[in-house]
């Protein structure tokens, strides 16, 4: 799951010409550490839904990588 998540996050970052990350830390906060805005978060949900068939934001916003993983596990 980590590898897919890292790839999806980097796709969103690349598409906005932002610097990509080489390692995925659970503590990463999307807004503060990865410079995501609401458009990036929206894109992330779509891309994650394609990969995992889960809408991670369905029940409200998630802030960190760890929270995304929790939502993905819940539905797995």
């Amino acid at each position: 799951m980590d590898n897919i998540l890292l790839r999806v996050i980097n796709t969103v970052l690349e598409n906005r010409s932002k610097s990509t990350i080489s390692e995925l830390k659970d503590t990463y906060n999307f807004r503060n550490d990865l410079d995501f805005d609401s458009l990036d978060l929206a894109e992330l949900t779509v891309r994650l839904e394609v990969e995992f068939d889960v809408d991670v934001f369905e029940n409200g916003l998630v802030n960190t990588v760890e929270e995304i993983k929790e939502r993905l596990m819940q539905k797995a």
């Binding site: 949900t45 934001f57 916003l61």
Partner: protein, 410 residues
């Protein structure tokens, strides 16, 4: 000292006295306002009102090409003029009184996604833009959480509502969720006006915020489950849903999904074939050469005839609402088709839990192009919000049975 504006993004905390001092410093006038700092936009708005001079607000993320297309110049300093300036009032009360007397010659112009091609300008007089404004003789304690762009109609409405009542404004837009919640507590924010998307992004919240007494929502459909969630977090808040657009300003309010037409507006509203029409006398001044009845493009369902009340169903046109921004798919398709490698393009919405809708496109290309190359080219032509977030490469564009480009995903 009474606060006028707080902004942690730009590290500003501006008192009314500082605002007055900064207004006195302004020596020349530019009819175009293209600024990144919200405070810079606010101060120029106030300056134009005090001097009864026209002002056009441009989104700070417009590309150089868009600026040129809208104004005819790349460099807006050519419009800078020395004018005979009015004396700036020296106290907060005198300043507000002077603003309330804004002259007939004042006019504000905003840009909106038109139903065809390029953004279209809409101008308003002081009278038409303040139609729904409420003046309270004694509400010095209101603190407004600012969650809209200051260059858009909703932002202007909140700005004028706060300033003309001598209230404080605290920036919330562009802040992280934690920063927003901290700002609500620190500044004891009492009022927030925002899109449903904005509220959705704020949730979930586990604590209660008691200072908020009013939440206003507009720009998108407000669902009842969102209201239920917000009521738990803001137990002292009442809710108002507002129908507003760049063309008419704020027109109807409702505390649920049904909008009741006030007696004073009855003659100016018409529903025909489920479409909402508004009389031209309610429109911004630049639009009064249009037909007598302006078709809003909104599809509504009548709830009762006496008094007239209705609820919104959807939009008829090619505008897609992405987090409160209305985006014209034709404008985006035009920009895509200007890229020589693209043969055909279809821009459409997919529903999204963050923004309500997300902009997607299907492309039929002649030679290979990557998603990031396309985005790079588009970013010189379009605002970020108008660039499709999901790009699919296809052999054939999906069309309707009549051969038109299909807009809605099945």
């Amino acid at each position: 000292m009474s606060s006028f504006y707080s902004d942690i993004v730009d590290h500003q905390s501006i008192s009314w006295d500082k605002l007055i001092a900064d207004l006195i410093e302004l020596k020349s006038y530019n009819p175009f306002c293209f600024k990144k700092s919200y405070y810079e936009i606010f101060i120029r708005l106030i300056f134009s009102m005090l001097n009864g001079k026209k002002i056009t607000l441009l989104d700070s993320d417009l590309s150089e090409q868009e600026i040129f297309e809208l104004t005819g110049h790349h460099d807006l300093s050519v419009f800078e003029k020395d004018i005979e300036l009015k004396k700036i009032p020296s106290t907060k009360t005198a300043l507000i009184n002077a603003l309330l007397e804004t002259k007939e010659s004042w006019q504000i112009t905003l840009y909106t996604s038109g139903t065809t091609g390029k953004p279209k300008s809409v101008s308003h007089s002081f009278k038409s833009i303040t139609r729904s404004l409420k003046l309270y003789p004694d509400n010095q304690l209101q603190v407004w959480g600012f969650s809209y762009l200051p260059t858009h109609m909703a932002g202007i409405q909140v700005f004028l509502q706060a300033v003309l009542n001598g209230n404080s404004i605290v920036r919330l837009i562009g802040l992280s969720k934690t920063e927003m919640l901290d700002a609500i507590l620190e500044h004891q924010i009492t009022h927030i006006s925002a899109t449903p998307t904005f509220y959705r992004l704020l949730l979930p919240i586990n604590t209660e915020f008691l200072t908020i007494i009013k939440l206003t929502s507009g720009g998108e459909k407000f669902d009842t489950s969102l209201k239920a969630h917000l009521s738990k977090v803001f137990p002292n808040a009442s809710f108002t849903n507002v129908y507003a657009s760049t063309e008419v300003g704020a027109l109807f309010g409702s505390n649920g999904e049904f909008f009741e037409v006030k007696d004073s507006l009855k003659e100016y509203i018409k529903i025909q074939g489920n479409e909402l029409f508004i009389h031209q006398s309610l429109l911004g001044i630049s639009m009064q050469n249009y037909a007598i009845w302006y078709n809003t493009g909104d599809l509504v369902e009548i709830h009762s005839n006496e008094p007239l009340s209705f609820k919104f169903k959807s939009r008829k046109s090619d505008l897609i609402n992405v987090g409160g921004f209305k985006i014209n798919v034709l404008e985006v398709e035009d920009a895509l088709l200007r890229i020589p490698e693209i043969r055909q393009a279809r821009v459409f919405a997919e529903s999204n839990s963050v923004l309500g809708n997300i902009l997607c496109c299907e492309l039929d290309t002649i030679s290979e192009l990557t998603e990031s190359e396309i985005r790079k080219i588009l970013s010189s032509d379009l605002q970020e919000v108008k660039i499709p977030r999901v790009i699919k490469f296809v052999d054939q564009i999906t069309t309707t049975p009549t051969g038109k480009i299909k807009r809605k995903v099945a």
